[in-house]
Symmetry: C2
């Protein structure tokens, strides 16, 4: 895989679709994955290995994963709620297993009916399972901390709690951590406080950020995280997603706007903005009733816009 | 006037209304001004002293200004395109005259049919006019630099050009400068580059930022400007405004979302978020066809949200 300044990871196929009532046809999901990869998105969370009876949107998890694994160069990730999900991912050979627990006790109890310590114990078992795989088949295992910047039940979350569970997941053997503002409560000052505190404890372990734009602060939070040194961000095309606790609210940060901001800042992502914007049509055709967001899609690129790599090349030639 | 960490200035009555085809009734403008002031907005650009035949939206500039000047504690600002506009503002006794020129030569030629040096000369004459007023009647005179972070004709603007015209307006006698991303091209890296360069040259002269959210980066740019030390921001309620070059695009940064982000960061603005959100109803009732934006208005405040001053009081008591 080529090396870019920032890794952008599409999570719309999982976080975007999971609360949408209409099933996105498998062929459309695959078209979306292939087009996003062709636009330069290097990593996609393609599905969730939850029981299909809980979330029928993901009843095609196996087929979608297999087709995504056939896309050259793409890192294929999938969400896993538990060991059973991990086993499904291992059987398929996906590259990354994204485990998630909530830093908010109430949210974790409501979401997975687990005390947080039980979730950490689950994660330890999953790591054992993963690390028992032969090298070539061994996926990276990711520890995700949801509601790390606020919770619809508890409100603000103590920074010390985020650090505590980040350390526990790191010690359990995570290859990467993701700190998530699941309900879009964060502001840039909080982001700096939380990410600096976590990074001070987990050292060089890769740390990604997962922001929602529920209250308009999503890209401001990206800027703050960039300043802390974070170089991997989740986002969803057209800001798909939303929040079950805030009907009508926007969802994940908009992938297209994220890629524009990063590129405009001179940070390469590998993504071709024109090709990425064109992927929206695949989603629109498949789910005409889904709410799509995105400022770049409305306004278009600035006049005479040169991409980060074009500007770098021009500067090198001068 | 009380002292807050950040000054937020409502510009929707000018920047928001100027491209809207329907006239907002004078009584509604006044209701908006009074309600915004009651919500804690300390400064409002209430109108523009352009010839009414050019922009009929502002044919009530005199009446709106007089009524705004009757609101206790409110700083009343108005845009002035030229000396004639300055004279109208002086006759009324508004507190701030906001002069604007474009850093982009092409934009300045298109907008006011002036070379940039001619605009600087105009500004010098206006400053003389203002400074000839007796002390009690003397307004503050603001030098605004539009298209400072990008131009629909020229694309990227050289930082050196922004610094040059900032210095010329400062030397001409501006009491304050405003650096404006008129068409919403900026990213946080550009904001840091431009504001740091300008601040290094103009010293302690107050410097405000005027951002548009055309491409989704508005609040990220606020965060970057805050880091540079900027403590005054223009915004418009519900993000009214837009861009004549990008139909359907969002306008100024959303005042409601800006105030939420600042307050959440622990920066006091004097604004009561609940009261501010209620002001949207005045605009909606007066202009049912205007496009209103705003993430906070859709999603609501976070659970158990405490304002910056409530948190400060709780911390002091603990």
């Amino acid at each position: 895989m080529k090396n870019f300044d920032v890794s952008v990871r599409e999570v719309g196929l999982r976080d975007g679709l999971q609360i949408h009532p209409t099933f996105m046809p498998t062929a459309s999901k695959i078209a979306w994955i292939e087009a996003a990869a062709a636009a330069g998105v290097g990593e996609i969370e393609v599905t969730s290995f939850v029981p299909p009876k809980l979330l029928p949107q993901f009843l095609d998890a196996e087929e979608v994963s297999r087709r995504a694994l056939a896309v050259p160069g793409l890192t294929v990730a999938a969400l896993i709620p538990n060991s059973r999900g991990a086993e499904r991912g291992l059987a398929l050979g996906v590259h990354k297993l994204n485990f998630v627990m909530s830093v908010s006790r109430t949210h974790n109890l409501n979401n997975v009916r687990r005390e947080r310590e039980e979730s950490v114990a689950d994660f330890r078992k999953i790591v054992e399972l993963v690390k028992a795989q032969p090298g070539a088949r061994r996926p990276r295992i990711v520890g995700g901390l949801s509601t790390a910047l606020g919770c619809s039940f508890e409100g603000r979350i103590a920074v010390a709690d985020v650090v505590k569970y980040a350390l526990l997941l790191a010690e359990a053997g995570a290859d990467e951590l993701v700190v998530a503002d699941t309900v879009g409560y964060a502001d840039p000052a909080q982001v700096r406080a939380v990410f600096k505190a976590v990074m001070a404890e987990v050292g060089t372990l890769p740390l990604a950020a997962h922001f929602h734009d529920t209250r308009g602060t999503g890209l401001a939070n990206v800027d703050a995280a960039l300043e802390c040194g974070v170089r991997a961000f989740d986002a969803s095309l057209a800001g798909l997603g939303g929040c079950p606790f805030a009907p009508g609210a926007t969802g994940n940060i908009v992938m297209d706007d994220l890629c524009f901001m990063l590129d405009s800042m001179g940070l390469t992502t590998g993504v071709d903005l024109h090709k990425l914007l064109a992927v929206r049509e695949i989603v629109r055709a498949a789910l005409p009733d889904i709410e799509m967001h995105g400022a770049l899609a409305r306004a278009g690129l600035p006049r005479n816009y040169q991409s980060a790599s074009e500007r770098a090349a021009a500067a090198a030639a001068a």
